[in-house]
């Protein structure tokens, strides 16, 4: 049994060694009062597979800004004295993007403060980043619902038909912009969202933002207000946040078995 | 446990001697295996009058009825038998006995200018065999492919057992003589491309290839065809010789040939002659017809060409002009032929026989 599933600790140790040289990969994220939610574990996981992290602290009052600044791989933290997200998401996104491109990345991954990529990203992404034939890598995002083990699949929550562009190649000579939308303007620039050269990856992203039932009402109210401002009424998707348990369909998450490809897995991977 | 083999002709219709052909050789090999496995075997075939012969421990029954109705003959055969193995798909109306094994030797209706009605009838015969067989054994993957393309729902019943070669009889010579002999080792049926071979010979001669010999090792099943051939090649004199050989003389015929041409035009399974030539280390030029494509990988263990004179001539010329490649292809042919060892064929057949005709 033992040779195939090394405990996470060892695998993560191996992960750090498994990628060799590829273009500089910078993670960019916005964070508003995330210090006591998932931010610490998100940053720790990111540190295993990105070269650096750039963040915008969006008016946090819980020490998120300082926490970010102190984190080893964080290269830059832009601090907004007041939150910008509730006002205009595209402004926030553009701010984050300029901060990220200042670090001269070859690739940028747009990750939220409550999202963690599957472990195998550390093995597969370095390979993908060495490619010249695509500019964007898209991933399925799974919304964990009230638990860390199950994600929601009814209606528009179904992750299986959708891939979101999260990793983009940055080319200094090109122009990038975010459409002037208050909300749902997307995490990556417009130019990256309809690229013919998008690679659809098997690596999945775990979105933990809904994993705590207690957060649901607050988030519902936030989106509801946005919807009314933009469309005049809440969307069905927003309404479904408060759907009764009987209409909520969940699936159990299953971990992908770690791939035994890392060069030195023979010495480190074999275990009782 | 007695299994009766039903086939058109193991012996000549008048019972006078064996028919020399691929299906008949197949029958002999299968009978020998079945006897070794402990089955009692007899053979029922079409004939010009009623006779019984004994061949290699096996009774062969000739049904004279066949001279006026093959269907009536088959009915009589059914009446006289219990467990039956059909050595080929019948081309006359018949209801196969349930749970029987039927052997398919390849597509036979793929010739040029074949009337659509003949194609239709042949397809229907195959479909019926597929439908009614307990097991259908195909000698090549090509027949299976064609059946699957036409009858995908029932093609699953086919088991492929590619043809065989006896490596203890057919093996490469220790060394080959200098000089080049190009051999045509097939029957004189039109589908086997004898005329194509002659035209290839003429093409080569007209292009100045004279330092070599051409030989045809053919059958005598239809004497008028031998006469036609003799007339056709009369003017070539000694450059092209024609002979017939008993079966056990064939290994030497292959061993003394450097290049073997299998110019089948249609109606081809996994030709025994091709396998024998390969096993003897000859450089083979074959057409991309029927099951030949399951034996030869073009440029690896032989040359595969469309069944046309210019292309076949080109291939033979190449082999004449490139002795090293010729040797390499021949060596690899011998190596790949090992995969068709008769022992492997026997193992596969014994599985099918055990399943179809369980011996207690």
């Amino acid at each position: 049994m033992g040779t195939r599933h090394p405990p996470p600790g060892t695998f993560r140790g191996v992960m750090a060694l498994s990628y060799s040289s590829h273009g500089r990969l910078i993670a960019m994220m916005t964070a508003g009062n995330e210090r006591n939610r998932y931010l610490p574990e998100v940053l720790e996981h990111l540190a295993l597979w990105v070269d650096g992290i750039v963040a915008v602290d969006d008016g946090s009052v819980d020490g998120t800004g300082d926490f970010l600044a102190r984190f080893p791989k964080v290269l830059d933290v832009v601090r907004n004295p007041q939150p910008v997200l509730p006002v205009n998401e595209s402004v926030l996104r553009a701010m984050l993007w300029s901060a990220a491109v200042k670090t001269q990345p070859e690739w940028i991954v747009a990750v939220d403060a409550d999202e963690i990529f599957e472990d195998r990203v550390a093995i597969e992404l370095p390979w993908l980043l060495r490619h010249a034939d695509f500019e964007v890598i898209a991933f399925r995002i799974f919304d964990f619902w009230g638990t860390r083990n199950h994600y929601r699949v009814d209606g528009a929550w179904n992750p299986w038909p959708r891939f979101s562009p999260l990793v983009v190649r940055y080319q200094e000579a090109r122009e990038y912009h975010f459409p002037a939308l208050e909300i749902h303007c997307g995490r990556v620039p417009w130019e990256c969202r309809r690229s013919a050269f998008t690679y659809y990856a098997d690596v999945r992203v775990r979105h933990l933002g809904w994993a705590n039932q207690a957060d649901h009402l607050k988030k519902y109210l936030f989106y509801r207000e946005k919807d009314i401002r933009m469309y005049g009424r809440p969307t069905d998707h927003t309404e479904s946040i408060l759907a009764p348990a009987s209409s909520v369909r969940l699936e159990a998450w299953s971990d992908a078995p770690p791939l035994s490809f890392a060069p030195d897995v023979q010495t480190r991977g074999a275990m009782p | 446990m007695r299994v009766s083999i039903i086939m058109p002709n193991l012996l000549q219709p008048d019972g006078s001697g064996p028919v020399l052909g691929g299906i008949e050789r197949y029958a002999r090999q299968l009978i020998s295996l079945m006897l070794a496995m402990g089955y009692e075997v007899d053979v029922h075939q079409f004939a010009s009058y009623d006779w019984i012969r004994r061949v290699d421990q096996v009774e062969v029954y000739g049904y004279g009825m066949a001279s006026w109705s093959q269907t009536a003959a088959l009915e009589a055969m059914h009446h006289n038998t219990q467990s039956v193995l059909y050595l080929s798909i019948m081309q006359v109306p018949i209801r196969y006995k349930p749970r029987s094994v039927i052997v398919a030797h390849g597509v036979w209706w793929d010739g040029p200018q074949v009337p659509p009605s003949y194609v239709q009838r042949s397809l229907e015969q195959c479909r019926q065999a597929l439908d009614e067989a307990g097991h259908l054994v195909s000698c090549d993957y090509n027949f299976l492919n064609v059946m699957r393309a036409l009858y995908p729902a029932i093609a699953d019943r086919i088991t492929v057992i590619p043809n065989f070669v006896d490596l203890s009889d057919f093996s490469p010579p220790a060394s080959r003589e200098a000089g080049v002999r190009v051999l045509y080792p097939r029957r004189l049926d039109q589908c086997r491309g004898a005329d194509v071979f002659v035209q290839v010979v003429r093409t080569l001669l007209s292009e100045g290839y004279r330092d070599l010999t051409f030989h045809m090792a053919v059958d005598q099943n239809h004497p008028e065809r031998n006469r036609e051939l003799a007339d056709m090649v009369q003017d070539l004199g000694d450059v092209l010789t024609v002979s017939s050989y008993p079966f056990d003389a064939m290994p030497e015929v292959y061993r003394s040939s450097q290049i073997v041409v299998i110019p089948s035009l249609y109606s081809e399974g996994t030709s025994l002659a091709c396998l024998e030539a390969m096993a003897c280390g000859c450089a083979v030029v074959a057409t991309d017809v029927g099951g030949l494509t399951n034996l030869i990988i073009n440029g690896y263990n032989g040359i595969l060409m469309p069944p046309r004179v210019p292309e076949l001539s080109l291939a033979v010329k190449y082999l004449i002009d490139h002795p090293r490649d010729r040797e390499l292809l021949g060596k690899r042919a011998a190596a790949t032929a090992r995969a068709f060892d008769v022992r492997a064929w026997e193992r596969r057949w014994s599985e099918v026989l055990h399943a179809a005709y369980p011996i207690n």
Binding site: R120, Y200 | D110, A149, T293
Partner: protein, 373 residues
């Protein structure tokens, strides 16, 4: 000095909406064919179904779109007509899939048959009546008899045509698919734990490609052989399939499911001992099979379509009836017999050379020289 303008008609190289690369055998074929034509001095353009966008398949080679939808009997007469209207300034034509030459084929044209695709039981259901099937065959006959030559990637199609349409006998050229042997040999394999036998299913997960049988066989064998790894590498035909596979591998130690771009997949392939291509139908001379052969894997393939053109059972691979029973039996034999694996793999590598890209290019050149004059 340009040798002329070649227009290639296909259904889709890019996803019809123009926003996604499709990695697949047919796409690879298209890219290599384009490269070859360019190297021979032709100008090349591609035409496919789409709504007006323009992309490049290779630098300088445009993909243009034509409005069209599929018609009954699996043909695209609308696309065919639009193509002939719009591509009037072109000199030579290639119908990338045979049925696109219906109803009309230009004079100096070549069609390509990528294998029999109508040999699975479900196909019958798409043509409900005998009349429908006859019409489909009639259209296919017209499509096959129009172009000057038809390049077939396998002999199965040629033989099927001979058995079905006796008067199409001499228009086919058998040019089997290719593998870039040099590139495969130069590829560095990924690591593998000592003593493991790595088995790969290197295709899209599709019923017709035997995924269900392979999964069941892997269930049985992974439980029996802890040192065997079963890698399923390829996208599913549907999202549902991918979901189920991800869940399945998490329940069965020793099984893995993922997908990678082709070059990275090659690195994995080179580390594998056994490659399984258990196709049940709709198979030409699979590029994946050729890659696995060139990579030195012991190949187990279904006895279908063009796979019999590549594998000689017992010499450079094993050809089997693609059932669970046969898969288990055959894989077990290979798992336990290192010497057999080595022999088959060695011979596979040797035979793969006969399908090298250069050989393919040479054969194609001959057809091009004969037709594009």
């Amino acid at each position: 000095m340009s040798r002329g303008r070649v227009a290639i008609l296909t259904t889709n190289h890019f996803h019809p909406a123009g926003d996604r690369i499709i990695y697949g055998g047919a796409e690879k074929y298209g890219v290599e064919l384009t490269r070859l034509l360019l190297s021979l001095g032709f100008e090349v353009s591609w035409w496919q179904i789409g709504d007006g966008w323009q992309k490049e398949i290779l630098p300088g080679v445009l993909v243009r779109t034509l409005p069209a939808a599929e018609a009954p009997y699996h043909t695209f007469p609308q696309l065919n007509q639009a193509f002939h209207e719009k591509a009037v300034d072109q000199d030579y034509f290639i119908y990338f899939v045979t049925f696109l030459a219906y109803p009309q084929a230009m004079d100096r044209s070549i069609a390509i048959s990528h294998g029999i695709y109508w040999d699975y039981p479900g196909f019958d259901a798409t043509l409900n009546t005998d009349a429908d099937r006859a019409e489909w065959r009639r259209r296919l006959w017209i499509a096959l008899s129009g172009p000057r030559r038809v390049v077939s990637v396998d002999t199965a199609t040629i033989n099927w045509a001979a058995a079905t349409f006796p008067d199409l006998l001499h228009r086919f050229d058998y040019i089997p698919n290719f593998v870039d042997v040099t590139a495969v040999e130069a590829t560095e394999p990924v690591g593998k734990p000592a003593g493991h036998v790595r088995i790969i299913y290197p295709r899209r997960l599709a019923t017709v490609r035997g995924i269900n049988e392979m999964v069941r066989a892997a269930e049985i064998l992974s439980a029996r052989y802890p040192s065997a790894e079963f890698h399923f590498v390829g996208r599913g035909h549907q999202d549902e399939t991918e979901k189920e596979m991800m869940a399945w591998v998490s329940r069965h130690p020793g099984t893995y499911y993922y997908w990678l771009p082709p070059e990275d997949m090659l690195r994995v392939l080179k580390s594998c001992d056994i490659a399984v291509i258990p196709s049940k139908a709709a198979e030409g001379t699979s590029l994946a099979c050729l890659e696995a052969m060139a990579a030195g894997c012991a190949v187990v393939a279904g006895w279908v379509g063009g796979l019999g053109n590549l594998i000689i059972d017992g010499y450079n691979g094993l050809l089997i009836k693609p059932t669970v029973h046969e898969l288990v039996r055959t894989l077990e034999r290979l798992i336990c017999d290192e010497e057999l694996r080595a022999t088959l793999g060695h011979n596979a590598r040797a035979t793969a050379k006969a399908f090298d890209l250069k050989v393919w290019q040479h054969r194609w050149r001959q057809v091009i020289d004969a037709v594009f004059v």
